[in-house]
């Protein structure tokens, strides 16, 4: 695609990534949380995919690996919830305002939730961007 779009997306990409990680990590004390953080991170990758061509997208995003990663994150989320419920006997602790190590398990829940939303958005992005190119034989297995 255009050189302007490619350069602009490469400049914007780390800034958007940092903002998404900030919202994900501070999800239990400031506005935001897992879902907006995941969508912002997904938007960063989406901008990269808009500026790239078919082969480089294919090298960066493999649909099968994204699905496996999402499943493992879901199992990890379930383990954290079970651990908090059985061993610690509470999931949602009370939080102090602007104190990052005060939320109990919501800290980890927000981070993992953000990554799961990111992977879901990546699958949607991959499907939509790849419709711009002609189909291949090994598509959608």
């Amino acid at each position: 695609m255009d050189a302007i779009i490619r350069t602009a997306t490469r400049v914007l990409f780390p800034v958007i990534l940092l903002f998404g990680i900030y919202i994900s990590v501070n999800g239990h004390i400031t506005p935001g949380g897992g879902f907006p953080a995941g969508v912002i991170l997904g938007t960063a990758f989406l901008l990269l995919a808009i500026g790239a061509d078919e082969t480089s997208i294919d090298a960066r995003i493999s649909k099968k690996n994204v699905m496996y990663l999402k499943g493992s994150f879901a199992i990890f989320l379930l383990l954290i919830v079970i651990e908090g419920y059985i061993i610690r006997n509470n999931i949602l602790k009370t939080q102090d305002f602007f104190e990052i190590w005060s939320g109990g398990f919501t800290f980890f829940l927000n981070i993992i939730g953000g990554f799961m939303v990111l992977l879901g958005i990546l699958i949607i992005v991959y499907s939509f961007i790849m419709t711009m190119y002609p189909p291949r034989e090994d598509d959608w297995k």
Partner: protein
């Protein structure tokens, strides 16, 4: 006063987006409308909803519209 001006601007932008023949400009106007709605959410003390609105509507939905326009036709007949 500022609040009413924002709402009127959002309505005008939405109406212009309906009437526009160039669909890409229409999508950009729709994104601007949703950005104004996000600012209104922020003024109504709902920053959580504002962040989600700006991220989802401004990022993902706009990009899906752009890809759909690229697949079909840019100008309305």
């Amino acid at each position: 006063m500022f609040y009413e001006a924002l709402l009127i601007a959002a309505i005008v932008m939405a109406l212009v987006a309906i009437e526009m023949k160039d669909l890409l400009q229409s999508v950009i106007l729709l994104g601007s409308t949703n950005l104004i709605i996000a600012i209104v959410f922020f003024m109504l003390k709902a920053p959580d909803i504002a962040i989600t609105q700006a991220a989802v509507i401004g990022g993902v939905v706009t990009m899906i519209f752009v890809v759909a326009i690229k697949k079909t036709e840019r100008f309305e007949k």
